[in-house]
């Protein structure tokens, strides 16, 4: 029995196979790392189960001293899309995204806030230090409304369209890139 001699094309393809695998893997890794660098890709990210569904209804008390009205599910339905932002004073990425929330507020975007598992006085201190971008503000100390939204960390931001349907969710801080590449186009699309 002699050894089978592979045809030339098979030989060549065998040589190229590892190169091709390395190229595909390399491109993939590069895209992932780039996305992680700009904050547009989160390896732990999980799509929201709420996308395309009506935003869950709720009614939360106001934050005393913040001079903002309390927040309820009906505030999500209106003549323009709104951003619903869960934050906490103990959350470090919230500090990173805060300037972007302030920018949106100044640009006239309706940003609504929910203080998640935070002492009211701490939330108040946080907003006094960094500014208050929220048109309305609710306090969710037990974190039950957050669970209705499928929240698994702070900050998380939901875009709710005029009809009260959840269109987008971002788990993590809103970076300037996220704002420019995702939120701004979405706000235009659902305006």
């Amino acid at each position: 029995m002699s050894e089978a001699v592979p045809s030339p094309w098979r030989r060549r393809s065998l040589l190229l196979a590892p190169v091709a695998v390395a190229a595909v893997a390399g491109t993939g890794f590069y895209a992932m790392l780039r996305g992680m660098g700009t904050g547009t890709y989160d390896p732990r990210g999980v799509p929201s189960a709420l996308l395309g569904k009506p935003a869950p209804d709720f009614s939360l008390p106001a934050l005393e001293g913040a001079e903002r009205p309390a927040l309820g599910g009906t505030d999500l339905r209106g003549d323009r899309p709104v951003l619903l932002n869960f934050f906490a004073s103990w959350c470090v990425p919230c500090v990173i995204e805060h300037p972007q929330l302030m920018t949106m507020m100044r640009d006239g975007v309706a940003v609504l806030g929910i203080a998640y598992k935070d002492k009211p006085e701490d939330s108040l201190g946080f907003l006094r230090r960094h500014g208050n971008p929220f048109a309305k503000l609710g306090v969710d100390q037990p974190g039950r409304v957050a669970i209705d939204y499928g929240l698994y960390g702070v900050p998380e931001t939901y875009l709710v369209d005029k009809g009260g349907v959840v269109r987008w969710r971002w788990a993590g801080p809103i970076t300037p890139e996220i704002l420019a590449q995702q939120i701004t186009p979405l706000l235009k699309r659902f305006a």
Partner: protein, 155 residues
Amino acid sequence: MIRWLFLLLLACGPAWAVNDPADQLPDARLEERARVIGRELRCMVCQNQSIEDSDADLARDLRRIVREQVAAGKSDTAVTDFVHQRYGDFVLLRPPLKLATALLWATPAVALLGGLLLIRGMRRRRAADAAPESAEELSATERARLAKLAGGHNE
């Protein structure tokens, strides 16, 4: 990626880390039911633990919700559905079989089938490559013809 996470998780052994008596239901039967439900639910914070195993705040909240609903007389599926509706398929440590997860479930069978096909292909090729060399082995018709020829000479 999520598919690999799932496979990894299924391979992990349990380690019941959380046993806060304050969170347990007084009725042992209900508590056991709540644990069985909780072991099938992923802690979204740690992602590789069930809510029964995790020390995360969110896992504790979900454990409480599971126990509240079990105590309120909800069925196991109703409780699981409550969490599933909010957190999606990823929260279920045993992903449901549907179009989007079909590949996940089919992967072992596909891998096995692929391996078998590969082996068959290799064998066939070896057999085909070896064919010209094995001319000393004659087929039945060849042998019959040879016998006839040889027989003709002998007679």
